[in-house]
């Protein structure tokens, strides 16, 4: 399990990185390496050129701008999890980050890496979808912003072109009074989720978001569950209905071919219950 040979560059700026990406047809960005290097060690990925962006401190950091958090692609997951700013402004995001692997993985893995990798069982892509994040992609041809809803295309596939660098994620900050919930189930702590659900409900504005991840090939919003939350608001009486609706949304969007897939879908129901219950409890705390 040793990686195949590759050329290695270590740009000192994002501009340099983008230039390096433009020069080669078949290169890969190396961020935290927590997904890419295992693939290389198994020789399932054999990129001829690696563009190591770990020196790009300009891409690491979290700032609040115009009602959104701007999170640099090279921000380590651990930083996201422990950041006071994130915990205060978008607590569901910090909570979800805590579920990514174990601390040794979060110390190294990055926000941009997780999002660009696009694992359907991963927490951070799901949060992007939940929170209507916008990804900033830079290439030698220019910069484009892609909304999370369009960004994830399928199993481990995103819209990122080989010559594009994901530089930043913009995540709108939910209203101060919004409540949230997050829950996932993996057979063993720290593993990718079999299924998970996150939700954010702003009762004052009458908006609600609920994302399910794990069973489908990309994280998905559950419109009928959101509808109930939006119209009827949060109440313990409706938790089951929301969970059923979320499950129905997932069933409609996925093809559960075997017992394991069926189980994943069923797990969405249980996780939706937990997440929504958590949000309901939070409304109690706010009163």
């Amino acid at each position: 399990m040793k990686p195949a040979q590759f050329d290695y560059v270590r740009p000192q700026s994002a501009a340099e990185a983008v230039r390096a990406l433009a020069e080669s047809d078949d290169c890969k960005v190396l961020a935290g390496g927590q997904s890419l290097v295992p693939l290389m060690n198994f020789r399932l990925a054999q990129p001829p050129l690696l563009v190591d962006i770990n020196r790009l401190t300009e891409l690491a950091g979290i700032t609040e701008v115009d009602g959104a958090l701007r999170i640099g692609a090279m921000t380590r997951t651990r930083r996201l999890e422990t950041s006071a700013l994130v915990t205060e402004r978008i607590p569901v995001l910090a909570a979800a980050a805590h579920w990514v692997g174990h601390v040794q993985i979060r110390n190294r893995g990055t926000v941009g890496g997780s999002i660009a990798h696009g694992d359907p069982s991963a927490e951070l892509p799901a949060m992007c979808v939940l929170l209507d994040a916008e990804m900033i992609l830079v290439s030698s041809g220019g910069t484009r912003a892609v909304s999370a809803g369009d960004f994830f295309e399928g199993f481990l596939t995103t819209v990122v072109e080989p010559d594009e660098l994901l530089t930043e994620v913009h995540i709108p900050i939910p209203a101060a009074g919004a409540v949230w919930g997050f829950s996932e189930y993996a057979q063993r702590a720290g593993d990718f989720a079999l299924a998970g659900v996150g939700c954010v409900v702003d009762r004052h504005a009458g908006t609600a978001g609920l994302v399910a991840f794990g069973p489908s090939e990309r994280p998905m919003r559950c419109p009928s569950a959101e509808e109930i939350l939006r119209v009827d608001g949060l109440s313990l009486d409706r938790v089951s209905d929301v969970a059923d609706a979320a499950t129905a949304d997932v069933v409609a969007a996925t093809e559960a071919v075997d017992a394991e897939a069926v189980h994943r879908v069923a797990t969405v129901r249980a996780m939706a219950r937990k997440a929504v219950e958590q949000a309901v409890r939070m409304t109690g705390e706010q009163r």
Partner: protein, 169 residues
């Protein structure tokens, strides 16, 4: 800026500066073990899960099997060989010895490095240490002695409750 397959690396390992030219693809775990002869860092899976290869890079515990040696240029690395000072076990190592926290010893160095990093954080507690430990697989001990070692290192040797082991006094 040009790309290359061989890269020059200069880093500090256990307080000593080392400099080498390495192939870009050389894993940090292989660099430590085979270039520097620091064989205390073990390799159990080479895909980031088992934790045997965990070392401390710039203060954080990370998997040496998921980094390239080329990436530690300018970095400061600590490995298991640095824990004992003048031959004396660190309190954490001592706790593992006292509480039978190891059997074959293969997983042990990685676990000790993760926990060393965790203990340096502000207010390390049992929960944090156990969560950190969750990032390691030990196939021998069933973690029971390791959990007692965690208690010992937090609270001191006298406080460790061994009552789960009835009849084994």
């Amino acid at each position: 800026m040009s790309s290359e397959t061989a890269v020059s690396v200069r880093c500090t390992v256990n307080g000593e500066v080392v400099q080498r030219i390495v192939e870009a693809r050389m894993l940090l775990s292989d660099f430590l073990r085979h270039e520097l002869g620091l064989t205390g860092t073990h390799v159990g899976c080479e895909h980031g899960v088992c934790g045997a290869c965990t070392v401390i890079v710039d203060g954080s515990s990370i998997r040496a099997c998921l980094m390239f040696a080329a990436q530690v240029d300018d970095a400061e690395i600590e490995t298991i060989e640095s824990l004992a000072k003048d031959g004396a076990l660190s309190p954490l190592q001592q706790a593992f010895h006292d509480q039978h926290g190891l059997q074959c010893g293969f997983c042990t160095p990685g676990i000790l490095m993760s926990m060393t990093a965790c203990l340096r954080e502000p207010a390390p507690d049992r929960e944090k240490l156990l969560e950190t430990l969750g990032g390691h697989i030990c196939r021998c001990t069933g973690y029971v002695g390791i959990k007692r070692a965690v208690d010992q290192v937090l609270d001191g040797a006298d406080s460790v409750d061994r009552s789960t082991v009835e009849g084994a006094s």
